[in-house]
């Protein structure tokens, strides 16, 4: 990689940036889930590794969260954008060199930011925990160059129309820059009080709604038609999805603060808009499941489709939870409990991660022109993720319901802690399975790059999956 940083743009092989991003994202996935598993162990066994400031729960939790969001998920997004955008425009990435630098800065900037965060250098704001100088690095070094590359690639495309995936990529790379800039304004400009609290959640909500969710969906819009060979079921529904994301998903930020003393109109408005998120959700899920028509055997046979469709199906419970848990009628019961932790993992570890994993599997095979080293290990990875995640989700949902009951019946807090203990252990076991699965994945992809069967020109990787 380093030799390409100072090479001429023309001398860098097409797809290099995407490959670097792909491998970086897997490494961050392993690191991030290792931390998750470590934190979970601490919540189950509080005296596990004790007496050290930087290894205490309060220092590690935010590092886990940002490592998986900015390291794994966002770098997998960058990888996907860097091979899908040109592929859909029948062109090359606008600047491979910018892409390579982007990847380099991303790794360096994120490592620096997380290291500082780990030491305790934090802004004290959930999800925007990074101190503001690092936020500036994230905006200028990570997000803006990515956006420029995507936009310019779309601009220099050699086809007439722009496919659904690329609308989402273009819109999301633009919106995420706005979200980061505005969301961190309280740190840049010392905004205080409820404005600060509200903007913290405005940021958190919009990073999920205008970056993670639409980009993950956009990836699925590419992978499913490409691998199955079926055309997208409906571009109209794609339109509905796109526009309803922009309109409905960008507005309910205040539903994260339903019990805070924010203006009542704001909370009511957010809550209504939050239910309307079901519109893009249903559009997305139905569009993709209908695209599968006639190709459902691939759900069993093909690893990318297996990941993608599992992720798409997880969007159903995800959005059902999301739409309703933020109404006043339900929020008072589940707010601030493990239920929310389960929901957050359903969104990020369930829905989103499964879609990105498919994109990384597919992209790396295509770019390296090598067949997956071992389909068996890939299936093992899939099941470790699915079973591990399900264990996590079920145990934290139960823990959350216990906490909710404890909350409304005003049970002495310590009894709630005792009742939750078995579920904390179950969560740790489930999360550790995810981590171990990822280690296997890293090995599998590394071996693919080293020893995978070369894919002959003119063939697609998934066509060869069962050929020996």
């Amino acid at each position: 990689m380093f030799k390409y940083l100072f090479a001429k743009n023309e001398d860098i092989p097409a797809g290099s940036a995407a490959v670097f991003f792909g491998f970086s994202s897997i490494v961050w996935f392993v690191v991030g889930t290792a931390m998750g598993s470590f934190n979970a162990a601490k919540l189950a066994f509080p005296d596990f590794v004790t007496g050290s400031e930087i290894l205490s729960f309060g220092h590690m939790r935010q590092v886990h969260v940002l490592a998986v969001i900015l390291g794994w998920i966002s770098m997998a997004f960058a990888m996907a954008m860097m091979y899908i955008t040109p592929a859909l425009g029948n062109t090359k990435l606008w600047s491979e060199k910018l892409g390579v630098w982007n990847c380099f800065l991303w790794n360096v900037g994120l490592s620096l930011g997380l290291f500082l965060l780990w030491l305790g250098v934090t802004s004290g704001r959930e999800y925007s925990d990074l101190p503001w100088p690092i936020d500036i690095v994230v905006i200028i070094g990570l997000l803006v160059p990515l956006g420029i590359n995507v936009w310019m690639t779309i601009k220099t495309r050699r086809v007439q129309g722009i496919y659904t995936t690329n609308w989402f990529f273009a819109a999301a790379t633009f919106m995420v820059v706005i979200v980061f800039t505005v969301g961190n304004a309280p740190e840049f400009f010392q905004l205080t009080g409820l404005t600060e609290a509200y903007l913290t959640w405005w940021f958190a909500h919009n990073v999920l709604g205008l970056w993670i969710t639409p980009v993950a969906a956009a990836i699925a819009y590419y992978v499913v038609p490409k691998v199955t060979g079926n055309p997208l079921y409906s571009h109209r529904i794609g339109h509905l999805h796109f526009w309803s994301v922009v309109v409905f998903y960008s507005t309910p930020a205040a539903h994260h603060l339903m019990s805070a003393p924010l203006p009542e109109w704001l909370k009511s408005f957010a809550s209504v808009e939050g239910v309307l998120i079901l519109v893009p959700a249903i559009a997305f899920v139905s569009n993709l499941l209908l695209t599968m028509t006639g190709k459902w055997r691939m759900f069993v046979e093909n690893i990318e489709i297996k990941f993608t469709i599992t992720g798409v199906m997880m969007a159903i419970p995800l959005n059902m939870q999301g739409g309703f848990q933020q109404t006043r009628a339900i929020n008072w019961y589940v707010h601030g409990t493990g239920w929310m932790v389960a929901h957050a993992h359903l969104a990020l570890l369930g829905f989103s991660t499964f879609l990105e994993a498919a994109a990384v599997y597919y992209g790396l095979q295509t770019l390296l022109r090598r067949k997956l080293y071992s389909l068996g290990l890939a299936n093992f990875h899939f099941w470790m993720l699915l079973i591990g995640f399900t264990t996590y989700w079920v145990s934290m949902t139960i823990a959350g319901l216990i906490q909710g009951a404890g909350k409304i019946y005003e049970v002495p807090y310590i009894d709630v802690v005792i009742a939750e203990h078995p579920y904390m252990i179950a969560r740790w076991v489930g999360g550790t399975m995810v981590f171990l699965g990822n280690c296997v994945w890293l090995y599998n992809m590394w071996m693919t790059a080293r020893a995978g069967t070369v894919i002959p020109a003119g063939r697609l990787p998934h066509e060869l999956a069962y050929e020996r």
């Binding site: 004290g124 203006p263 601030g336």
Partner: protein, 316 residues
């Protein structure tokens, strides 16, 4: 942009996204900005200082550049007896909180009173200042304001500090930094909910309770009790000390981490703390081999643990 549709689409996008930002940013900002600070908001920001997270004066969150809160009963200038008063001492170069720097944050009436009656804006960071929170009535309603007592009564920071012995000094600002840095707010909320929680955790906050404070650190996730009013439930320093050193000393089932490392190297009497010996003795106790746990050292005045306890006890 080959198609006319894309031009239309781009404009539609601008309109849709723009209106969404107007409704979710501009309108709430205007609404929230019209709220006046309450007494709580003034007390909080004066005790916490400028920022509770990363800042120039304290990039590594060690608690530098924070005010000291004192409770006094003698006038620092004259020595005459006064009503018990809580004063916030900003020695020279300690950055003032946001409400003092930008009075507008306090809301219309409080900021006008703080400036005219309290002479708040006469305070100068380079010289230091002492502030107190006062209340007065305007048209039958009581309105809080900040008084710069250095200007109004000549209480200098040094003289005010000198009137308070160790027991009457609280390092609340430094404690808030510890609270943020150690991530207590990942497990404890600072926001009793409006729908329930009243009996157990106390009243939820008011709209104006936070003007000037940053970050608010509400927390989103409860693995332990809400702490907004914890000092009213339990004001025992002794209990807090044991509990922070090792929560399992007072609550065997707690999942709260140990914060013994915040005691630093020496205890209140300057004796070095031997953590290895303490942990070994505690393991013996936990295994049932000894009847009493080892003694917990009293934290030194300048330790992080002391500041944290001050902060927690003062969450009334």
């Amino acid at each position: 942009m080959a198609f006319r549709e894309y031009k239309v689409g781009a404009r539609m996008f601008g309109l849709a996204f723009g209106s969404s930002m107007f409704i979710t940013l501009y309108m709430p900002a205007v609404d929230i900005a019209s709220v006046s600070a309450t007494t709580t908001a003034m007390e909080r920001q004066l005790a916490f200082g400028r920022v509770g997270g990363f800042s120039y004066e304290d990039p590594f969150l060690r608690g530098h550049g924070k005010p000291v809160t004192v409770d006094i009963v003698l006038d620092p200038k004259t020595g005459a007896a006064i009503e018990p008063t809580r004063a916030y001492v900003y020695t020279p170069e300690i950055p003032f909180p946001n409400g003092v720097r930008h009075p507008r944050i306090l809301g219309e009436l409080p900021s006008e009173l703080s400036v005219s009656k309290g002479r708040m804006t006469d305070a100068d960071e380079a010289q230091g200042a002492v502030f107190v929170v006062r209340e007065t009535t305007r048209e039958g309603i009581s309105v809080p304001y900040i008084e710069n007592v250095t200007a109004t009564r000549g209480w200098t920071p040094e003289a005010t500090l000198a009137r308070a012995d160790d027991k009457n000094r609280a390092f609340i600002g430094k404690g808030k930094i510890m609270f943020v840095r150690e991530g207590c707010w990942w497990c404890h909320t600072m926001l009793p909910e409006q729908t329930q929680d009243w009996q157990y955790f106390g009243a939820p906050p008011m709209l104006g309770d936070f003007n000037g404070e940053s970050p608010t650190a509400f927390g989103s996730d409860r693995k332990g009790p809400d702490l907004t009013h914890v000092g009213s439930r339990n004001s025992s320093r002794e209990w807090m000390m044991l509990h922070f050193f090792n929560p399992r000393l007072v609550q065997p089932h707690s999942i709260m981490p140990r914060y013994d490392y915040m005691w630093g190297d020496v205890d209140a009497d300057g004796r070095p703390i031997d953590y290895d010996a303490w942990r070994a003795a505690y393991d013996e106790y936990e295994a049932g081999n000894t009847i009493y746990p080892p003694e917990v050292p009293v934290p030194a005045v300048d330790s992080e643990a002391r500041a944290l306890i001050d902060f927690i006890i003062n969450l009334k």
